[in-house]
Amino acid sequence: MAKPSYDIPPTGRAAVITEYKKDLALAENHPVPSVADLNPGECLVKIEYAGVCQSDLHVKDDAYGFNAPLPLIGGHEGIGRIVAIAEHTVGSPVKVGDRVGLKWTARSCLKCENCRKGMEACCAMVVTHAHGCTVNGTWTEYAVAWTDYVTPIPEGLDSAAATPILCAGVTTYKAVKQSNAKIGDWIAISGAGGGLGHLAVQYAVAMGLRVIAIDTGASKRDLCVNQLGAEKWVDFMESKDLVKDVIEAAGGLGPHAAVIAAGSPIPFNQALLYLRPAGTLVAVGMPAGGAMLNVPIALLVPRCINIVGSATGNRQDMAEALDIVAQGKVKCHYEVRDWEEVNDVLKDLRAGTVTGRVVLRIADPRRPN
C-alpha cells in the first residue's frame, strides 16, 4: 500500500526570535531539518496555520525569564500535516499524512509523578520543551514536534478555525472544568472578548453555566452577548464599580466562579471581591512584570474562596476540547493574516485591539503543495 510521501525542501520560511525584545526576523530561507536529522520520537510537521497568543508577546520579550538560547522560531499554536517521522520511533500513534496540532507543551515525559497524575503541564521536561519558547515553534513552514504529543485533529474541522483551540481552547476549557461550577451556576469570564475569553464563554455555555462577560467596547459586547450566549455583560472601562456590578449581575450574590484570562493583575484581585462564598477563582492569564494577587486573609478564610492556577491542559483535555468543537458547540472567531504580518499582529495584541484570535496563514503561496 503506498504511503503518502512528501518532498521536504532544504529551506523554508520561519519567523525567528533572534534577540529578545526585538521584532522577530522573517527568514525565507531558514534551514529545514531533514528526516535524518530527526531524533527517534520526533516528526516533521508542515504547518498550515499558526495562532498568535499574548504569551508569544511575553516570550519574545523574555518577560517570563526562560532565557532560552536563541535563535528560536516563535509560535506555539499550529495545525499541519506530518510529512516525516524519525527512524526508530517506537509505537507512534500518528503517521505520515495525519493532520495534527501543536501546542505549548511540545513534550512531557509521561513517567514522572506529575505525568502519572495527569498534570502533564507540570512535568519538568516541559520547561525545556515548550514550542516557541524553549524549542522551535509553529511560525514556520516545517516544525519539529513529538509523535507522542502532537494532537490528532478530528475530521471535518477547518484547520484555520481549529488552530486556536490548540492553546486558547484547551486552556479555557480546562479552566472552566477546574472552576467547580456546575450546571446553572454563574461564571464570570474576564477578557471575554479576547482570544481565550471568547472561547471560555462558549465552553461555559456548552457546560450549562450562566456567563457574565467582562471586557470593554461595543464590538466585544456584541460578540459575547449577541453571538456567543453570555447572559450578562459588564464593561470594565465604563463601570464605576466593577465588583458591585458583577455581584449584581450574578443574582445579587456574586458568581460561583471566575475565569481570569487577562494580562493585568487587576481583574484577578477584583474577582476575589466579587466571588460568592465557596467560589473558585481560576487564574489563567499570565501578566508579565511580577504581577501579584493580594489576598486579604480575612476574606479568604471566612468566605472559603478557592484559588486555582491553571496552565493549558493535558492530552485528554485537548481531545475533549476539540471534540466539543467538532460537535459544533464552540466556534472560534478569528481573522486570517499572512505569516509576514506576525510582528504587526504582536503589536496589535500589545495594544489590546484584537477581538477573537488572529491566525497566520503559514504556507508560502508561491510553493506548490
Binding site: N39, P40, G41, H88, V90, G91, P93, C109, L110, K111, C112, E113, R116, K117, G118, A124, M125, V127, T128, H129, D148, N314, R315, Q316, A319
Partner: protein, 378 residues
C-alpha cells in the same frame, strides 16, 4: 550489531516454569531459551528475575478458568523483582536530558525493577490519558504470565517504561519482602483508594489472612480506616489481629449468623466499605447484605468459572450501594505502595521457597492453606 551495554553475561538458556497444557502442572524447564539483547524490540528490556511471587490468579490462568485461552506454551507468573540486564537499542528515551527529572524514573541496565500483571500500557489512549492504565487495550493484551511470558523464569522480557523502579531506600535484603507488592500490594491498595471510606470509617476485608488481605489490613490502617478482618482459622485470626485489624469474623464459625456478626463488629451498622479479595462469589454476595447504607463494595477477587454477583435491585436502591470493580493499579498507585513500604507502614508476611517447588506451592494455594504470600527465590 547492537552497541548498548550489558550488565553481565546472559546465558542462551535458563530455567522457566511453563504452562504447556491447561489444568496440568507447569513444566519445569532448565534450558528454556533466553531472548538475546539484540532481539529486544524498541521499548523492551530483559530482566533477570531474582524473586517471583505466587498468586491465586496463577492457578486460574494455568487452568484457563477465565476462558482467556493464554497462548500456550507460555511462561507463567506475574509478580517479580529483579535487575535489568539489557535494554533495547531504541525506544527508551535515551536521548533526552532535562533539569528536574525525577530520580530513578528512567530505567537503565543494572537497575532493580519490579514486574507486575500489566507489562505495558500505551499511555496515549483515552483510558491511559484519564489515568486508567488498567483499561488500556494494549495493557489488556500485554499481561505477564497470561498473554506474554511471565516471571517464573530466570529471564523475562518486559517494557522499560512500564517496569517499576525500586526506590533506592529499599535495601537488597528486602527484595523478597516487597515482591508481593507488585501485584497483591498494588491491587489491594488501589481497592482501598476507590472504596470511598474516610479515615475513621469501617472497612471489611474479605480474605484478610491471605496474600492480598494481610497487606490490605496494613494499608487500611495506614489510611486511617478501622478494619473488620474476615477469614477463617486460628492462624489467620492471630495474623490479622497482629497486623492491626480492629475486629475479626470467622466466616466458617459464624455460619448462618455471619452477616449479622460483620455488622455488629463494624459499629453495629455494618462497614462503610467492603473489599472482597477472594476467588469465590459467595463473599461478594454477602457483602451486599452486611454493608452499611450508602456503602461501597470493591470487587477485587476473580472467581473462576463464571461466578456471579446477584444483587436484589430493590436492596441496592434502598441501601444506595455503590459497587466497583478494581483491577490491579497504575504506575502511580504502584509508586505510592512502594512509598508506604519505604515509610515502614506495610510489610509482607511471606515464606521463601525454591523455584522448583512452584507446582507444590500452587497446590497449597488452591487448598487455601497459605497465610500471607509465598515468594520463590529464583
Amino acid at each position: 550489531m547492537s552497541s548498548h551495554p550489558v550488565a553481565h553475561k546472559i546465558p542462551s538458556t535458563a530455567r522457566a516454569a511453563i504452562i504447556t497444557e491447561f489444568k496440568k502442572p507447569f513444566t519445569l524447564s532448565t534450558n528454556h531459551p533466553v531472548p538475546s539483547p539484540s532481539s529486544l524490540r524498541p521499548g523492551e528490556c530483559l530482566v533477570k528475575i531474582e524473586y517471583a511471587g505466587c498468586c491465586h490468579s496463577d492457578i486460574h490462568v494455568r487452568d484457563n478458568d477465565w476462558g482467556g485461552d493464554s497462548p500456550v506454551p507460555l511462561v507463567a507468573g506475574h509478580e517479580g523483582v529483579g535487575k535489568v540486564v539489557a535494554v533495547a537499542q531504541f525506544g527508551n528515551g535515551e536521548d533526552v536530558k532535562y533539569r528536574g527529572e525525577e530520580e530513578g524514573i528512567r530505567v537503565k541496565v543494572g537497575d532493580r525493577v519490579g514486574l507486575k500483571w500489566f507489562a505495558n500500557a500505551c499511555l496515549r489512549c483515552e483510558s491511559c490519558r484519564l489515568g486508567r492504565e488498567t483499561n488500556c487495550s494494549v495493557a489488556r493484551a500485554t499481561t505477564h504470565g497470561y498473554r506474554v511470558d511471565g516471571t517464573f523464569a530466570d529471564y523475562v522480557v518486559s517494557w522499560t517504561d512500564y517496569v517499576t523502579p525500586i526506590p533506592k531506600a529499599i535495601p537488597d535484603s528486602d527484595l523478597p519482602m516487597i515482591t508481593p507488592m507488585l501485584c497483591a500490594g498494588v491491587t489491594i491498595y488501589k481497592a482501598l483508594k476507590v472504596c470511598n471510606a474516610q479515615p475513621g470509617q469501617w472497612v471489611a476485608i474479605s480474605g484478610a489472612g491471605g496474600g492480598l488481605g494481610h497487606l490490605g489490613i496494613q494499608f487500611a490502617k495506614a489510611m486511617g480506616f478501622r478494619v473488620v478482618a474476615i477469614d477463617t482459622g486460628a492462624s489467620k485470626k492471630s495474623l490479622c489481629l497482629s497486623l492491626g485489624a480492629d475486629a475479626w469474623v470467622d466466616f466458617v464459625e459464624t455460619g448462618e449468623k455471619f452477616v449479622q456478626e460483620v455488622q455488629k463488629a463494624a459499629g453495629g451498622l455494618g462497614p462503610h466499605a467492603a473489599v472482597v479479595a477472594v476467588g469465590h462469589p459467595l463473599p461478594f454476595n454477602q457483602a451486599v447484605m452486611y454493608l452499611r447504607l450508602a456503602g461501597t463494595l470493591v470487587a477485587v477477587g476473580m472467581p473462576g468459572g463464571g461466578g456471579t454477583l446477584n444483587v436484589p435491585i430493590t436492596l441496592m436502591i434502598a441501601k444506595t450501594l455503590t459497587i466497583v470493580g478494581s483491577a490491579t493499579g497504575t504506575r502511580q498507585d504502584m509508586a505510592e505502595v512502594l512509598d508506604f513500604v519505604v515509610q515502614g507502614k506495610v510489610k509482607c508476611i511471606y515464606q521463601e521457597r525454591k523455584m522448583e517447588e512452584v507446582n507444590e506451592v500452587m497446590d497449597e494455594l488452591a487448598a487455601g492453606k497459605v497465610s500471607g504470600r509465598i515468594v520463590l527465590k529464583m
